[in-house]
Symmetry: C2
Subunit: 170 residues, 2 copies
């Protein structure tokens, strides 16, 4: 499996981990009698974006990693979610979408020229899009989501963050 | 450049970004007349680890990515730093160390068997060590460090996080 395809698989796994964090957040909110919307609007600083945005951005990070590096047209997700159930449905939709990619989709991905919508006329090549842009940015949103949940008291640990590892005997 | 070597270059860049965040944190502390040690001991939750630990772990993430995947013996850093100057000196030492790796160091990295010290007798192969363990974990510590600084009021943005991008005309 190419590194690019391997990263698509990894982001798909991270979205599954993220959905499991939200299951714990739901149980936490029920136990504390808190509206889950309070968590979704929580932020780490007044000028940082809230959990809902971090979740939407993690979904987009994974989706755009796969589509930009394969040249496919991404499905639209217009950021209209307001509830935990709605954003979890989107996470599961992106998991399903990203699970459909195959090795052959990423032939030539490293050298693909990827335009940047926020810098008209400028872009990055696929290998730089991957290593210095999308991967750090997508993990930014996964980790910030995790941090907001932890900051609010949801009990998560490194195993929830990483998920199961593919172990071998050594 | 192989993807593994490319990630070493990327982590080295992220350590430079991290050092620049700490320069801004230093200026912030001076302006507010705060001991920088208060920031270094700040955490996002009582049962999360403080900024100093996140910084040490980001250094280790980058260092161990390079050494585990090349089979080299890592230099020792015994986590004895207590001041901003000391941890910044370590960041710079790891930047220098990681900058010395070459493409040839990572031949066979994907299939290298890497033992896990916390799971005796178990390990992971290099490609899984990279994608599902070290990369998510190292970004975890970079982003948590960033989040602690932002939560405390240090003015940082996405450009500080990502650093300069290798742009092309499209």
């Amino acid at each position: 499996m190419s590194y690019v395809h391997r990263n698509v698989v990894q982001f798909t796994k991270m979205l599954g981990n993220l959905d499991a964090w939200l299951e714990k957040a739901k149980a936490f909110a029920e136990k504390k009698n808190i509206d889950p919307g309070v968590l979704l609007q929580s932020r780490l600083a007044p000028d940082m974006l809230p959990l809902m945005f971090q979740l939407q951005s993690a979904c987009d990070g994974a989706k755009f990693y796969a589509t930009r590096l394969s040249g496919k047209e991404p499905p639209k997700h217009p950021d209209t979610e307001t509830t935990l159930d709605q954003i979890r449905a989107r996470i599961r939709a992106v998991i399903e979408y990203c699970s459909g990619f195959k090795e052959a989709d990423f032939v030539g991905a490293d050298e693909r020229k990827i335009p940047l919508s926020f810098l008209p006329g400028k872009g990055v090549v696929g290998k730089d899009f991957s290593a210095e842009m999308n991967v750090p940015n997508t993990y930014f949103h996964f980790v910030t989501a995790y941090a907001i949940l932890r900051h609010n008291g949801v009990e998560l640990g490194k195993q929830d963050y990483l998920g199961a590892l593919n172990l071998i005997d050594v």
